[in-house]
């Protein structure tokens, strides 16, 4: 049972939890985006594509300007642009939101490779120097705390930003008028409309927010964790984020806990030079866990009532 003792030993190292948090945040941002979008009643399975687009344009901008903050802005906006396509198609044109989401993912995958070919002429996408990347930031003082200092306060700036966004999203959704309205629109758009809430406006805002969050995740991946763009580099993370969102029952903190579980899995798996289990079987775990959650074995996971239904003013 050396495997188990190895894992147990690992669980008490700050390094493991530091890696867990970083991996979790990469999932948390798109998952939060998904929560906001779906709470407003728009199904969003397009986080993968939005993230990839953000990653690509972030790298392009950073290579051109050598300004990581501007590049991050571009990545966020690129994610937002993709999201606005989803918004227009699914809110304005009342398209099937799942079809639109699939189309976004296919579109992003094709477009980024196509543009890599056109822009960089079949050559290598360049590498960015350390100074052009989203920096790690050790919080003075706090980083000295044993164990927790390393886990919580020696991280990339995006990790802190994501944690702030986590609290912010929770507060906005559950403690403000705006959040109440967003949720009302997601649960009962007709009633919300009757009460004078602008359903379209709120849904647009929520969907685009999900794109901005996913774009930031793309920036974190491409110009924070990595320093270049590799085609298909998001590698299904947007879908795991989707799983995390459902796992977390469409709440920010629930999603965060799910992301931590998946992130922990990734961090433990990264130690596979000392743990020997078929990596492929291990890789199935997040998806199987989500299925178990969905099967109701860990309590029921119910989406917002009007999730996925286009709103037609005056209907019913």
């Amino acid at each position: 049972m050396t495997v188990l003792t190895d894992i147990l030993h690992l669980l008490f190292t700050a390094n493991l939890w530091q890696a867990t948090l970083a991996a979790a945040v990469l999932l948390l941002l798109p998952a939060l985006g998904g929560v906001v979008s779906e709470r407003s009643g728009v199904v969003n399975i397009a986080m993968e594509g939005m993230m990839l687009t953000g990653a690509f344009f972030g790298v392009v901008a950073d290579l051109a300007w050598h300004n990581v903050w501007a590049a991050t802005g571009v990545a966020i906006l690129a994610g937002g642009m993709m999201a606005s396509i989803h918004a227009v198609v699914s809110i304005q044109f009342r398209a099937d939101q799942i079809v639109s989401g699939i189309a976004i993912n296919i579109f992003a995958g094709g477009l980024t490779v196509f543009l890599v070919n056109r822009i960089y002429g079949l050559q290598d996408v360049g590498h960015l120097g350390q100074s052009d990347l989203l920096p790690n930031l050790n919080i003075p003082g706090l980083e000295q705390i044993p164990f927790f200092g390393k886990v919580l306060f020696q991280q990339n700036v995006v990790v802190y930003a994501a944690l702030v966004l986590l609290f912010l999203t929770h507060i906005v959704l559950f403690r403000t008028r705006l959040g109440l309205r967003i949720r009302a629109v997601g649960e009962h758009p007709q009633a919300a409309d009757t009460a004078g809430i602008n359903v379209f406006m709120l849904r647009y805002g929520a969907v685009i927010t999900s794109g901005l969050f996913s774009g930031l995740a793309g920036a974190f991946l491409a110009i924070g964790i990595s320093n270049t763009f590799v085609p298909g580099m998001t590698d299904g993370r947007g879908y795991i984020a989707l799983a995390a969102m459902i796992f977390g029952k469409w709440t920010p903190f629930g999603a965060f806990i799910a992301c931590l579980i998946f992130g922990l899995g990734e961090a433990i798996y990264a130690n596979n030079s000392i743990i020997h289990v078929s990596p492929y079987l291990l890789s199935m775990l997040p998806y199987l866990l989500t299925l178990i959650v969905l099967a109701g074995l860990v309590g029921r996971s119910t989406p917002p009532a009007a999730d996925g239904l286009p709103y037609v003013p005056g209907s019913e």
């Binding site: 799942i98 699939i102 056109r118 492929y280």
Partner: protein
């Protein structure tokens, strides 16, 4: 114009318009990024349909290649279209296809000595059974605890992908250490080719072995016909459509909604599993790492949507996407335009159908087309199919 022709024209206007619109936008993207859209599209046309080849491509070979891609698209297209009719969205055709491949390979390897009349049905039915199981889980979860099938099928896609990797890398189906493929299935499990797989025979100026069209094409066409028959000529088909239109009404009419959902998913999974089994039995004869990156099950969604959920439509849409797939390579070789453009086009077609841009354009410009052919308010794509708004093209 006779009413049937008008209805047909009306039914075709939306998908055709969507395709044209996608190609126009695609041309703009190519032009803006400094390419020549005409070169790109002539490459696609040659690669996909063997028409207007300027660089010495063999038209017969291109058509054959396209058909090989079309076969699984038809069958998985059905696997997506059938649940659509019941108001279910099966994104899991990919996982079900992989399940079919795994089962087909496992059986074909295990019983490799059996003669064809026994083994071939075994691998095909085994593939169908595995696909049915893979789709049955989401069906049961949907019918019992209400878990959304979109999410469960996505999760099962990934489970299938990783299971496939496990089986052929370090798992029980691995050929030998260091390889990432399985043993070959017994010859009895192979689907015959349409042209003899004999390289000494020259057909259309090339060795006959290069034409990989196989008899799975017939199975795929039978599957499409079976789909139409099931939907329009059986009581189960009636129940599926009833559930798709309104679960409440179906319940009043005495239809068991839960049972219909589960049965629909089982049948859909069987179709997708069949597609996987046909692919192994007809093309590859072993399970290899090439299917890590397979996207057939996702393309099938586009096929089902563009085909408006009718058997004929699915076959036509499968031909379009199969041709795009085959054409992308030729476009890159001949015109130097990245084959990824094909994915962009595919996404644009999806957007266009889903958002019904064509209907919107018509509404803005009333003089365009034949306004009588379409109702003024076109509902979005997926519900449209479930509400049987499209007249059946089948007899």
């Amino acid at each position: 114009m006779p009413p049937i022709a008008r209805r047909l024209a009306g039914g075709l206007a939306m998908p055709l318009g969507s395709v044209v619109l996608a190609f126009v936008i695609g041309a703009v993207i190519v032009a803006v990024t400094g390419g020549n859209p005409l070169d790109a599209y002539s490459g696609l046309l040659c690669g996909g349909l063997g028409i207007a080849c300027s660089q010495g491509e063999n038209p017969a070979l291109q058509v054959s290649t396209t058909i090989v891609y079309v076969i699984p698209l038809i069958t998985t297209g059905v696997a997506v279209a059938l649940p659509f009719r019941a108001g279910l969205f099966n994104i899991g055709a990919e996982g079900q296809l992989l399940a079919g491949m795994m089962a087909c390979t496992a059986i074909g390897v295990k019983f490799s000595d059996l003669p064809s009349p026994i083994l071939l049905p075994m691998v095909l039915l085994g593939g169908m059974a595995a696909g049915a199981v893979w789709a049955g889980v989401p069906g049961i979860l949907k019918a019992t605890v209400g878990a959304h099938e979109v999410v469960t099928t996505i999760m099962l896609n990934y489970v299938a992908q990783w299971l496939l990797r496990y089986l052929i890398i370090g798992g029980p189906l691995q050929l030998a250490p260091g390889t990432s493929k399985s043993l070959t299935i017994g010859p009895g499990a192979w689907l015959a080719r349409v042209l003899p797989n004999d390289n000494s025979l020259v057909i259309f100026g090339l060795p006959a072995g290069v034409f990989r069209v196989h008899t799975g094409l017939l199975l795929a066409l039978v599957a499409a016909a079976a789909f139409a028959f099931l939907l329009w000529r059986t009581s189960l088909g009636y129940e599926i459509r009833a559930v798709g239109q309104s679960q409440r009404a179906a319940r009043y009419a005495g239809v068991s909604v839960a049972r219909t959902i589960i049965v629909t998913m089982l049948i859909a999974g069987a179709f997708a599993g069949l597609a996987g089994a046909i692919q192994i039995a007809g093309v590859d004869h072993n399970l290899t790492d090439i299917y890590f990156s397979d996207t057939t099950g996702f393309d099938a969604i586009a096929v089902a949507l563009l085909g408006l959920g009718s058997a004929v439509g699915i076959v036509l849409a499968a031909i379009l996407f199969g041709a795009l797939h085959a054409g992308g390579s030729v476009m890159q070789a001949d015109a130097g335009i990245s084959g990824s453009l094909v994915f962009v086009l595919q996404a644009l077609i999806l957007f266009s159908i889903a958002a019904n841009f064509i209907g919107q354009i018509r509404r803005l410009i009333p003089g365009l087309g034949r306004p009588a052919a379409l109702p003024p308010e076109m509902p979005p794509a997926a519900p449209m199919m479930t509400e049987a708004a499209v007249p059946p093209v089948e007899p």
